[in-house]
Structures are given as C-alpha cells and as structure tokens.
C-alpha cells in the first residue's frame, strides 16, 4: 500500500481550502458554537447560517422533528442580519484560519443585491453562497429555486455588486437540475452547491396537528443522500464550474460518493448534530481512501464515475 501522502487541498471558485470538506449552512451556526468541541482550523471551509440584510426572527417553535434517517426543520432562517453578523461573529471567525463562506438570502432580488453589496470587500469573507432554495420562507424563495429564469436574475443581480466568488445553492425541487445549473453558470456563478433540503411534513397522529409550527419544513440527513448523489451527478455533467455536493453525508464513503458523482468539494450538514466530529472523520476517511486506492489527490476522485 502506502505511497506519497495524497493531496487534499482544493481550490473552488478561487477559494483555497486545505481539504474539500466544508460544513453546511445552518448546521454549524456561526462556527463559534462548535469551537468548544472541534478545532475549526481542520475544516476545508465554514459556511455560516443564512444571513439576510436585516435581522430575521424565523419561524415559531417547534422547528425541528426527527424522521427515519433524517430530520425535518423549519427554522425559518432566523439570523442577526448582515451588520449583526459582521459585528458579533466575524471577528471570531477571522482568527480561525479557515475560509468563511457567507450564506445569504433575501425575499426579493433587491434584498439579495443589498446583502451581496454589503459583504463585498469585507475582510474575512471568502465567498457568498446564494441560498435561492430555502423551503422555509414564503416570500418567493422557492420560486427563485425552481425557475431557472428567476434564479438567473438573482445571480446576475448579485454578480454586478460583488467581486466575491458567488455560489448559488440549488433546490432539489427544480424539475430539471441540469437546466438550473446551466442557468446559474450563464448568469455568472463561480460554482454551485446542492442539495438543499427536500420539502416535507410530519404530523403528530395523537394531536392530529403538524409537528412543526410552520407546518412544512425541509428534509435532510442520510435519508436524502441517494437523491443528492443523483442531483450532483446530473448538475456536474451539465456545467464546467465546480460543484459543491451535500446531502446526508454521515461518513467518508458518502462524501466520496458525491465526489465520484462530480462534486469538487462537499459539505457536512445534519451529521454535525449526530456527531460534531463528523467533518474531521470524513476528512481522515477521504485521505485513507485515496491512499488505499493509490490516488494522488482528491482531483483524481472528482467525477471519476465509470460505467
């Protein structure tokens, strides 16, 4: 076996990461919450919880319910707003030696533009993930995610106001993910990420009421992993820009699957709750895999699906 240490570093949309394993938006707060139990410096990148230009209260509780091999959440994008984030959280993140990607959202194209403008040139921010697919807000969020034209307009608007790498996050609900991915590429995206959660619902049969205050939420976790692999594969074949894959990663083999399907980097989401040490374990597991398969680096793995 053995051989030289495989190359784990990657560069996605100009963002240099020491390995391809990021943590997914909304599952890792603003980093500080996990710093107690994890060395943040080990991560490829941190994607923070979705930020709007102004603060947002999110949905009423309950906001989360467990399901078979997954969970359904309807947090509703609660966040302190761009200023609050920059003031209260970014100083800490700047000291961690890890790229920070800010997940941003708006209820209108204008709001996307404002939040993208605000982050342009802010020290310590390496890129913007444009959440055009969150199922938890009613003001158009879902329309941006399922209609390639609308998505294109949001991305183009953000493109004009920031030099930061732009990474639109696609919805699994888009009827044709390849078209959506191409629309993103054509509108100036530097990379795309997918998948966001799948719209879902849980009913408490004893009370005959929805388990979530918001009635509907988004399904995540290992349950959706096979859906994520399919969508990443379809999207990666459709575009030249890099794809960041996520959805149900619980161990290294799940991440490797997404990379073979075409993802240049991956993000761990729900599994951060199951075990906060998931991301470092996935990193170690990918390295072991590369060694075992005598591969020089992660690049060789990306899109390596044979038939």
């Amino acid at each position: 076996m053995a051989g030289a240490t495989p190359r784990m570093a990657v560069e996605i949309a100009g963002i240099r990461m020491r390995n391809p394993v990021m943590v997914a938006s909304g599952t890792f707060g603003y980093g500080v919450e996990f710093a107690d139990v994890l060395d943040l410096g080990r991560l490829g990148a941190i994607v923070v919880k979705g930020i709007r230009i102004e603060p947002w209260a999110g949905n009423r509780a309950p906001r989360m319910v467990e399901t078979p091999c997954g969970l359904v959440n309807a947090i509703g994008l609660q966040n302190p707003g761009a200023e609050g984030f920059i003031r209260d959280y970014l100083p800490f993140l700047r000291t961690q030696g890890v790229p920070v990607i800010v997940n941003v959202w708006g209820r209108t194209i204008e709001e996307y533009k404002r939040v993208a403008t605000r982050f342009d040139g802010v020290e310590g921010v390496s890129g913007l993930e444009l959440n055009i697919s969150c199922p938890n807000i009613k003001e158009g969020g879902i329309a941006f995610g399922t209609d390639p034209k609308m998505a294109g307009r949001v991305i183009a608007a953000a493109r004009k106001v920031t030099k930061l790498p732009l990474i639109p996050k696609l919805s699994p609900n888009a009827p044709d993910i390849a078209r959506m991915a191409r629309a993103a590429e054509d509108s100036g995206a530097d990379a795309i990420s997918l998948i966001n959660t799948i719209p879902a619902m849980v009913i408490n049969v004893e009370t005959r009421r929805p388990e979530l205050a918001n009635v509907v939420g988004g399904l995540s976790g290992p349950a959706i992993h096979p859906v994520a692999v399919r969508l990443v594969w379809e999207a990666a074949r459709a575009v030249k820009i890099p794809v960041i894959g996520m959805g149900g990663i619980a161990e290294a083999r799940d991440a490797i699957e997404l990379m073979i399907a075409g993802a240049s980097a991956v993000a761990v989401g729900t599994a951060n709750f199951t075990n906060p040490h998931t991301a470092p374990r996935v990193i170690d597991g990918i390295k072991d895999y590369l060694l075992r398969h005598r591969m020089r680096g992660v690049k060789q793995l990306v899109g390596s699906l044979g038939r």
């Binding site: 707060g29 107690d36 209260a57 959280y89 709750f273």
Partner: protein, 266 residues
C-alpha cells in the same frame, strides 16, 4: 460571542453502572474525566443512544450526579432513544457530549430555596439540592407513586423537607403538586423564598406565576426538543424578554436550559 470558558467535551464514555429504578426510570453512570468539578446543577449532557442507526439526533439529559470521574443520569424510558439506551450494558461505551448549558445559580444565600420537580425533573434538582449553600423544601409531583418516590430519600438525607403529590393519589396529596405548593407559599408569604423548578411547561408556568405574585425569583429549567445542543441550529428556541424588554428567541441548549421566570414569554 467567545466560546464559553467552561468547555464541554465530546467523549466515548464507559458505562460503569446501569440499573432499573421504579416505574420506567433508570440510572446510568458513566466514566467522565473530572465531571465532578466541571458540572453545574441544571446543566445537561447530550447523548447518542447506541444502536439507533435510524435516528440522527442525540438526546439531552440533565446531570443527576457528578462526583470525581463519575457522571450519573436518571432517565425515563419514553421512546426509541431511551429504550435503546436501556439496552446498554456495563462496560460498553456511550457517545456523550457535555456538560452543556447554563444551570441553576448555586451561590444564593439569605434565601429559603423551594425546589419543585415534576417527573424526571427531580434529576437536576437532586444534584442542585446537594450543591446549594442553604436547605429548604422540595415539592415533588407526578402521575403516580412511581414517579415521585425517586430521590425522596436523597433529598431527606441532604437535610431537605420533602412534600409529594400524585395525580392518582397513590402517594402524598392527590392532585397536581402546584396545589400544596401554592398553599405552602401562602403560609410562608413573608419568607425570602426562591424557586428552582424542573418539569413540564405547565408546572414551570405555574411556578413562575406564583413567584411573580410574591415578587420572588424562580429559576426554571426548560425541556425543549434539541438538535445540536450547542447553540448552532436554533431548534430549541424559547421566546424571552431581554434586558431592554424586547422579545427575542433564546436557545434553551446554550442560553438555558435554566432561565429566571421573569425573562420567559410563555
């Protein structure tokens, strides 16, 4: 927004003791380095129930005892997770993260502490009873005798007076614990009472109301379904009023689970 000073740990802790108590309650003791000096009453640990492959979330449990390297939890089997936990054998390892959250204040003096427990709410209060500087009264309520006898002897040994009530009347007064509690508080109206409660929301709300009437403080430990347990996912939120009177969401896992009653917006 810095990490808290008292750092929680994530370990695979060995099971040292595990036994059935009365009713559906069980006691689990884990090896956990220096937990005795780390843990505050009211804090909790976030456990991954073993052999629960279809479940992605951990389960929170109050710290019931913490001495040296021995962490104890007292739990009730209610669903899949707790039933899976009940299968764990001595010598096996359990994935545990903690101590987490902000517990009860233990340095209060010049007060008459009144502890109010519902069901498994006795767990953190039993720990608290040994750590408070003063002794007082404990009110323990539950559905039946099986729910209230837990810890009663522990409280007494520590020098606390114990009063019980059960809904079926099988032990103590018949009915909700809030009835004898209200009566007792009325009689002790002029005392510097201070409440420490853990139990279902209804109980906590009632204790809060009682405290407000007498202008007493009440420390309530909330029970919310949790995701991360670390303050990141915003699943466990409770509406509170901040210092300036504005309503916001607090995270029960990190800003709590213990809140002063006046903060809470029910």
């Amino acid at each position: 927004m810095q990490p808290r000073k008292q750092t929680p740990r994530l370990v695979r802790a060995r099971v040292r003791e595990h036994k059935a108590l009365r009713g559906d309650y069980r006691f689990l003791a884990l090896e956990f380095q220096a937990i005795g000096s780390l843990a505050q009453p009211g804090q909790f640990v976030h456990l991954r129930a073993p052999q629960l492959a279809a479940r992605v979330l951990r389960r929170p449990f109050s710290i019931y005892s913490a001495k040296g390297n021995r962490l104890g939890i007292l739990y009730k089997t209610v669903g899949q997770g707790t039933r899976a936990l009940a299968e764990v054998a001595v010598g096996e390892r359990v994935d545990v993260m903690g101590p987490l959250g902000r517990g009860f204040p233990t340095d209060r003096t010049g007060i008459v502490p009144v502890l109010v427990a519902g069901g498994y709410g006795v767990a953190p209060l039993s720990f608290l009873a040994g750590r408070l500087r003063v002794r007082g009264v404990v009110f323990v309520g539950g559905a039946s005798a099986r729910d209230v006898v837990l810890c009663v002897e522990d409280f007494r040994k520590l020098g606390w007076e114990v009063r019980t009530a059960t809904e079926d009347g099988s032990r103590g007064i018949k009915g909700l614990i809030t009835a004898p509690l209200d009566a007792w508080a009325r009689k002790n109206r002029s005392q510097p009472l201070e409440f420490f409660a853990c139990g279902p929301d209804g109980l906590l709300e009632a204790v809060g109301r009682l405290a407000a009437k007498g202008r007493w403080k009440a420390w309530l430990s909330l029970d919310k379904h949790m995701g991360c347990g670390l303050g990141a996912c915003l699943a466990c939120v409770q509406k509170v009023r901040d210092a300036s009177g504005k309503e916001t969401w607090a995270r029960v896992c990190r800003d709590g689970p213990v809140f002063e009653a006046a903060e809470i917006v029910w």
